[in-house]
């Protein structure tokens, strides 16, 4: 293996490593954190709120933002 090839390999490995770390910090971690929060909220609803026999009566609301309904 020539020095040039070794250098190229090191460069590519470095770029991939930096890209992976950046992607993890900017995309993956918030996504996982959001997912964790959602799972926590859902679990709270299913294990605490729902068994208490509270109503799920459709609320009057006038605005819906960003998203789908039903």
């Amino acid at each position: 293996m020539t020095d040039q090839r070794k250098f190229n390999l090191a460069m590519i490995t470095g770029v991939v490593l930096v890209a992976t770390v950046l992607a993890s910090n900017t995309v993956l971690e918030p996504l996982l954190a959001g997912l964790g929060e959602r799972m926590k909220r859902r679990s709270y609803y299913e294990n605490v709120i729902s068994p208490k026999g509270l109503s799920l009566h459709r609320g009057v609301f006038w605005k819906e933002k960003r998203g789908t309904k039903d």
């Binding site: 109503s55 609320g59 819906e64 789908t68 309904k69």
Partner: protein, 324 residues
């Protein structure tokens, strides 16, 4: 984010993600649909004298079937009902009482009105609205005791079937509302004007808290605003504070402070000013023209009433209020 909804009921206008519960603790987004968790699930049900709300110019000496669910749109540090208003619905005991049963029970107990009270009725808007509609059909009146922290659209809709409202005007500075209540003053003032415009009988309660909202200048400003924007006939109740919840380090309001507040309000032109939560003769109603005693009260009970056909029995002056 998909399935996000925004509640438009109160000025906080919570944006809720899936399975998230609003700041009021009683409204929730589930799969992109906003739900009320407290519809037909009151945590407090009682038959009270209407004077307890307090309404002093609305069907005196009658009883009000009173209901509340858990939750509140504000987080006042002095809340006198914090055990239920600052609790989540899943944390308090509740009963199943659909609107039709509320009306049936109100009739059974000979209540002339149903009052949505104790916590903040805005949080159980749908329940209150449906109950009020049914009550109207059988001639039972609807009243609420509210902090007035509600958006214009839902309030105007509600006002069509509401007969009277007692609104807590907690102070007259944005700073107080922000620091002590977690809300804003402006929407409350707007709500008061809307209620007046819609012809709902209105009374105002101001809980006087030592060092926090007992500045005479602020009180004068508040009273002038009331006279200018709502008129001199809106009864104003200065209520005595007792140390509760997160304000246990303050003393109860001295009687002198309440008397001063009453004097300021009368000087500003408000005709009917009362002192509550303490026994004084400022619980009584006197005719604003001839100054004769019209309604004598002892606590929540009416000892004598000289308002006949909405008029002073002595001089014939029309007394503002709903009397029959």
């Amino acid at each position: 984010m998909a399935n996000t909804v925004q509640c438009e009921l109160c000025p906080t206008e919570c944006v809720l993600e899936n399975y998230q519960v609003g700041g009021c603790r009683s409204r929730m987004n589930k799969d992109g649909v906003l739900y009320s968790l407290v519809y037909g699930k009151p945590c407090a049900v009682a038959v009270d004298p209407i004077e307890k709300k307090p309404f002093y110019h609305f069907l005196p000496a009658t009883t009000a079937f009173s209901i509340a669910t858990a939750g509140c749109v504000l987080g006042c540090k002095f809340c006198q009902n914090w055990q239920i208003s600052q609790a989540s619905p899943e944390d308090v005991d509740h009963q199943d009482l659909p609107p039709a049963d509320v009306v049936r029970q109100a009739a059974l107990y000979n209540c002339r009105s149903i009052t949505y009270t104790y916590t903040e009725p805005t949080v159980f808007y749908e329940y209150m609205y449906d109950t009020a509609q049914l009550a109207r059909q059988v001639g039972i009146r609807n009243t609420m005791h509210s902090c007035g922290y509600i958006n214009e659209k839902p309030l105007r809709q509600l006002a069509k079937i509401l007969d009277a409202a007692d609104v807590d005007l907690k102070a007259f500075t944005e700073d107080f509302y922000s620091r002590i209540c977690g809300g804003r003053l402006r929407p409350v003032l707007d709500a008061l004007v809307v209620l007046r415009q819609e012809g709902v009988w209105l009374e105002i309660t101001n809980l006087v808290i030592p060092t926090l909202n007992d500045d005479p200048r602020e009180m004068r400003e508040m009273c002038r605003w009331i006279v200018k924007n709502l008129g001199p006939d809106v009864p104003l109740h200065f209520s005595r504070f007792f140390p509760y919840y997160k304000l246990k380090d303050l003393p109860p309001t001295p009687l002198e402070t309440l008397k001063d507040a009453r004097r300021i309000a009368q000087d500003a032109g408000i005709r009917y000013v009362y002192i509550g939560n303490i026994r004084t003769d400022a619980e009584n109603t006197t005719c604003h023209k001839c100054r004769k005693l019209l309604i004598e009260r002892i606590g929540y009970f009416v000892k004598q009433n000289h308002v006949a056909g909405g008029k002073c029995r002595f001089c014939g002056t029309a007394i503002p209020g709903v009397w029959s």
